[in-house]
């Protein structure tokens, strides 16, 4: 469990993230691994708003925020500028799931299709949290948000989570893709280091499950625990796609899907029928990943 992280803070205390914020843990960890020789592009969202309120900034590395839909294209511009100047800094684009799965997808796709060597990190808290918990393309089915309310005629979100990791991997075998969880630091660190190294040959996409205290309706001390349960219940599988081949991380422990979902207020309304459907989808997805991974099938 010990990752032996360096002491220096490049993402400092004093930011305005909620107490216990999973995304803040992600960012902190990213900066500890990535180090100083980086240029960060922050997409509009929780992490941008909590860390760059004038006249303060929680960043001790160069950071730019331009807009919401363009985290990846701003990063591309920086990448080409550094290339023109023969500079060595790595370009890391950081955005939430709203800014990645939905409004930011076009720019992200463009950057990866061009092969721009940027590391794009999505801190996935499964909704538009900064604006007060609204559904995004990442929101799991049946989750409650303020735009997918539970009511007499609605059981919450009625769409499945977009499979962005596979979409990004489909941009070519030069793309490195991985999902990670703040509940599994060593795995997260390994993937982040790999992604940074991968920038020598192509773009990298990292999606990190980052629980949101108010959004998921969970206690402020539970982000790490829930991030573990998400993986161990197979709801949020950890895998890489490298050279077009899936590599699934499997763990010996098992957590019941109900344990994971019912530990969050946003799923407290689930009925037996919902669970059946959810379990079916989770198991199918995991089975598919297992087949691809075990057989090292080259899908892209």
């Amino acid at each position: 469990m010990m990752a032996n992280l360096p002491e220096d803070q490049l993402f400092t205390p004093g930011h305005n993230a909620c107490a216990g914020c999973g995304a803040a843990i992600s960012l902190r960890h990213i900066m500890k691994i990535a180090g100083k020789e980086v240029i960060i592009v922050l997409g509009t969202g929780c992490m941008e708003v909590v860390s760059t309120l004038y006249p303060n900034s929680a960043w001790k590395v160069p950071v730019i925020h331009s807009a919401f839909a363009n985290t990846a294209s701003t990063a591309s511009g920086i990448y080409y500028s550094l290339k023109a100047q023969s500079r060595k800094e790595k370009v890391i684009a950081i955005a939430g799931d709203g800014g990645t799965f939905d409004i930011g997808l076009q720019a992200l796709s463009g950057a990866f299709a061009r092969g721009d060597r940027i590391l794009y990190i999505c801190y996935d808290n499964e909704a538009y949290m900064n604006t007060g918990i609204q559904k995004s393309g990442s929101t799991p089915k049946f989750a409650e948000t303020t735009t997918t309310n539970i009511g007499t005629v609605s059981s919450g979100n009625d769409t499945n989570k977009k499979d962005i990791p596979f979409i990004m991997a489909s941009h070519g075998e030069k793309v490195y893709v991985a999902t990670a969880s703040i509940g599994f630091y060593n795995d997260f660190e390994m993937k982040l280091k790999k992604a940074l190294k991968h920038l020598e040959v192509g773009p990298a996409y990292l999606q990190i499950l980052s629980p949101c205290i108010p959004g998921w309706k969970i206690p402020s001390d539970s982000a790490i625990d829930i991030s573990k349960k998400a993986v161990l219940s197979r709801v949020y599988p950890l895998f890489e796609i490298e050279n077009g081949i899936v590599n699934l991380q499997e763990f010996n422990q098992d957590v019941k899907i109900e344990d994971y979902l019912l530990s969050q207020g946003r799923f407290s309304h689930l009925n037996a029928g919902n669970f059946v459907e959810i379990k079916k989808n989770i198991e199918e997805n995991f089975r598919r990943l297992k087949i691809l991974s075990n057989n090292k099938i080259k899908i892209f």
Binding site: L5, Q9, T12, G14, R28, Y185, D225
Partner: protein
């Protein structure tokens, strides 16, 4: 326009205050890793590596308490509320 940074003392947010029991703390660094606000520092106390808390910024989320494998962190309610 030159920015004049101010201190944003998020320690004022706390309802509960984590406290490290130095006898139980083994210096494993897990609390240092999980704190979302980088409020835990490792320090040499009586020749041993132990965790210390930066109360200026600690928001009292108690992740450190939850994740400590040695139950070396307690919490008390903040007096000033």
């Amino acid at each position: 326009m030159k920015a004049k940074p101010t201190q944003n003392k998020t320690g004022t947010w706390r309802t509960f205050k984590p406290k490290i029991n130095l006898d139980k703390c083994t210096g494993c660094r897990i609390c240092f890793e999980v704190c979302p606000d980088s409020c835990i520092k490792m320090a040499m106390i009586n020749g041993k590596v132990k965790s210390t808390i930066n109360y200026t910024y600690c928001k009292g989320c108690l992740l450190c308490k939850k994740e400590c494998p040695f139950k070396a962190i307690d919490s008390v309610k903040e007096d000033k509320i």
